[in-house]
């Protein structure tokens, strides 16, 4: 019966985490601006749909890069920082959507076509949808919990048919 109870606990953890992940899908919109030519952030981002809107006036079409914080802090150079996402040809109020693959700390770097940081960058971003890693963990826990519970319940039912055993106090 101990295994059955462990299975139920794992199943409940999975289901409640699935609910929690679903409840986290509504996030606040975050506006951010810098007073000088610099990278915006760092921000803790989750692996889900990310929308970025450029809100500052730009003299030309600019490029927005999403750069892992470690890379940016080590190099401070966009050509060496290996951005995980790049959107070029952006102007004021242009929006871009992409799916971030890995949970982590990121900077937003806005550059001119020649690679220099633009003055006083400002943008708005929002993350929507299910966080993929939490979703996967919850699904995995639910499946494992369900398998353990089903197996032990069947075992218990077969045992009960052979003799009288009361549930959870056997």
């Amino acid at each position: 019966m101990k295994t059955l109870r462990i299975g139920i606990i794992i199943l409940l953890i999975g289901v409640s985490l699935l609910f929690a992940t679903n409840m986290r899908t509504k996030t606040m919109k975050i506006s951010t601006a810098a007073n000088a030519p610099m990278a915006l952030g760092p921000f803790l981002l989750e692996p889900r749909q990310t929308i970025i809107v450029l809100t500052s006036e730009t003299p030309d079409n600019v490029t927005i890069h999403v750069v892992p914080s470690k890379n940016w802090e080590a190099t401070q150079n966009i050509s060496l920082a290996n951005p995980v996402f790049t959107a070029s040809g952006m102007r004021r109020l242009y929006a871009v959507t992409f799916r971030l693959e890995t949970r982590g700390v990121y900077y937003f770097v806005v550059t001119m076509p020649n690679g220099t940081l633009i003055d006083e960058p400002a943008l708005k971003f929002e993350q929507t949808g299910l966080a993929q890693d939490l979703y996967m963990i919850s699904i995995t826990a639910t499946i494992i919990g369900m398998a353990i519970t089903t197996y032990n319940s069947l075992k218990f039912i077969i045992k009960r048919k052979r003799g009288n055993i009361s549930l959870f106090h056997a």
Binding site: L12, S16, G41, L44, D133
Partner: protein, 259 residues
């Protein structure tokens, strides 16, 4: 002697944490702790994520403590289970310690696991939150569970009733939380009587102390806006208050008339 104490703990686990009490407590804690924690805020990384944890879990903690300790002490007196247990034979003090310790450890492990889950997800954001800060968060969670458990134990033993003790406890806990004025700059000692306020601010205070002590901030001192008196007020209230209530409960348990 030792095995008898463990037997009492095991009996308490079977009786008080039987299906589906543990399952419900775990499910609600996961929901509460993971649903509303946001790791990003307007100005960038929010290193004080445990503020959301303490805010988010206080309600669940109070309800869980009310149910668990209310059943363990209030209901067992009401239904005369305590008399049966005392005929084991076992001293009242030993029974009290066994019941209190079992429930306290179970609750701390449930909420501790939840804090650990949040911490683990944050460790994916390597280096954002110091592991020492999480250790302090665990310490304050321990104090929080201890204080709330002691309050409920006292009410349960005073009233000897399950329902009544829960009612008084909920009015006391949420009433106190509601009526204490809060100064969000963290400079008012009175605010620290509110436990979901005191915990994160005290963790911030301890972290700043730790960083300054070891010179981790590149030799420069971290500015601390929280005065020592505020930190001490929170610590005295939770640890000192919890201890006084715990001892008062023990005295009541030893002297109370069970007939």
């Amino acid at each position: 002697m030792k095995s008898r104490f463990l037997e009492l703990m095991s009996w308490e686990l079977r009786d008080n944490w039987s299906f589906p009490i543990l399952e419900i407590a775990i499910a609600i804690t996961v929901l509460q702790a993971m649903s509303f924690s946001t790791f990003t805020h307007r100005d960038g990384v929010d290193p004080e994520v445990w503020i959301h944890f303490f805010e988010g879990t206080l309600f669940v903690l109070v309800i869980s403590v009310a149910m668990v300790f209310g059943r363990s002490f209030g209901e067992s007196i009401e239904k005369r289970k305590l008399i049966v247990l005392l005929s084991y034979p076992v001293s009242r003090a030993r029974l009290f310690f066994a019941k209190y310790l079992t429930n306290f450890l179970m609750l701390f492990s449930i909420f501790g696991s939840s804090l650990l889950a949040q911490g683990t997800s944050l460790f994916l954001f390597d280096g954002v939150v110091r592991s020492m800060s999480w250790s302090y968060a665990f310490l304050y969670l321990l104090l929080e569970v201890f204080f709330v458990s002691s309050v409920m134990t006292l009410f349960a033993l005073l009233t000897k009733r399950f329902g009544l003790s829960i009612l008084i406890f909920l009015v006391f806990m949420f009433g106190i939380q509601y009526w204490i004025p809060r100064n969000y700059t963290g400079e008012d000692p009175i605010s620290y009587l509110s436990i979901d306020f005191a915990c994160p601010f005290s963790v911030t205070y301890l972290e700043a102390r730790f960083v300054n002590w070891l010179g981790l901030n590149g030799g420069t001192q971290v500015m601390m806006s929280i005065p020592d008196i505020c930190f001490l007020a929170g610590l005295t209230y939770m640890l000192g208050g919890g201890l006084v209530l715990f001892l008062a409960s023990l005295v009541i348990m030893k002297r109370m008339d069970l007939d």
